[in-house]
Point group: C2
Chain length 172, copies 2
Amino acid sequence: VRIILREYAETPRKPRSDRGIAEVGSMCDRFERECRKRGIRITTQRLAVYKALARDAGHPTADALYARVRSGVRGLSLATVYRILDSLERDGFIRRVSTTDGAGRYDANLEFHQHLVCRICGRIMDSQVEGLRSLSLSGSGPGGFVPETLDVRIVGKCGSCRRPRGRKTKLN
Amino acid sequence: VRIILREYAETPRKPRSDRGIAEVGSMCDRFERECRKRGIRITTQRLAVYKALARDAGHPTADALYARVRSGVRGLSLATVYRILDSLERDGFIRRVSTTDGAGRYDANLEFHQHLVCRICGRIMDSQVEGLRSLSLSGSGPGGFVPETLDVRIVGKCGSCRRPRGRKTKLN
DNA sequence: CTATCTGCAAAAACTTTGCTTACCC
DNA sequence: GGGTAAGCAAAGTTTTTGCAGATAG
């Protein structure tokens, strides 16, 4: 493994959990276009789950997505949400986020980015760290391991959890 | 968040799952010493679980540790293994490994290191990437996030899974 | 001694599966 | 219309909890 990294600076970004309408819209458009192109079925449920995940930039669990979507789709079941998330991941529309705690979390943001993880409340925020993109992974590591992608979590303490006053943020 | 990384080279290391007797011994010694110093109880079960994790560098699950340890400790239960792993983590003797799949995995290696994750068989290998150690985390990110540690997974394909011939390695 | 840990069993949390019906293309 | 996807319920995994009894320091 040989990775060359140069110095890099962070692109600040307002912490918010929801993406804007416009961004969500264009993500959904791209999703539908790609599905049609590849002959992947577009169902009410699939679209609803994808849209909910596109809207929520807070890396929700399957259960959280279910809660968001169920009111809009009559009779939706959690099992279906899991099946949909699986297939969306297989088809490369979403990604599973690496975590250290129990439940699986998902992300519709496919661009190369890093996660700022608060070790107090568990919140996960996206952070685009410029310069990391230009890293080069080459050669092979121990036992012939060939690196393909880099997954970086930056663990620390988020703003809300640092402030002594004010109610503690407890997110799931 | 401001992180400065210079170029770095990887320290090759033979892929093996078990640490040597000597290394395990010194880890256990340190563990016992630290427990006594901090007044943390040393029980047969705790020591056995810690030792099993110290020996297995393959980032085992709770269940895998239980399987390794149960023969040596009469009547040990999986619930106890979970409780022990929790407390060892709280006390800073072990760490939970970040993963993308369901089950929790643990690591007794507290030194700063990275994980090479095979996306085919799921194997997780340690890799000491020189130079990363000298990174500097400073300043604060979006919303006042203060970074403390870096958790890097290098995802790719391990040697066994790359070789066309030979049986596929399927680890859990 | 006594606060803490363990065993056991049960529950909770999370995820997958089987099978029938519904519906996209 | 054919085949994939969804609904529902049940089972599978993984992890946590309650409580009585054991034990390290």
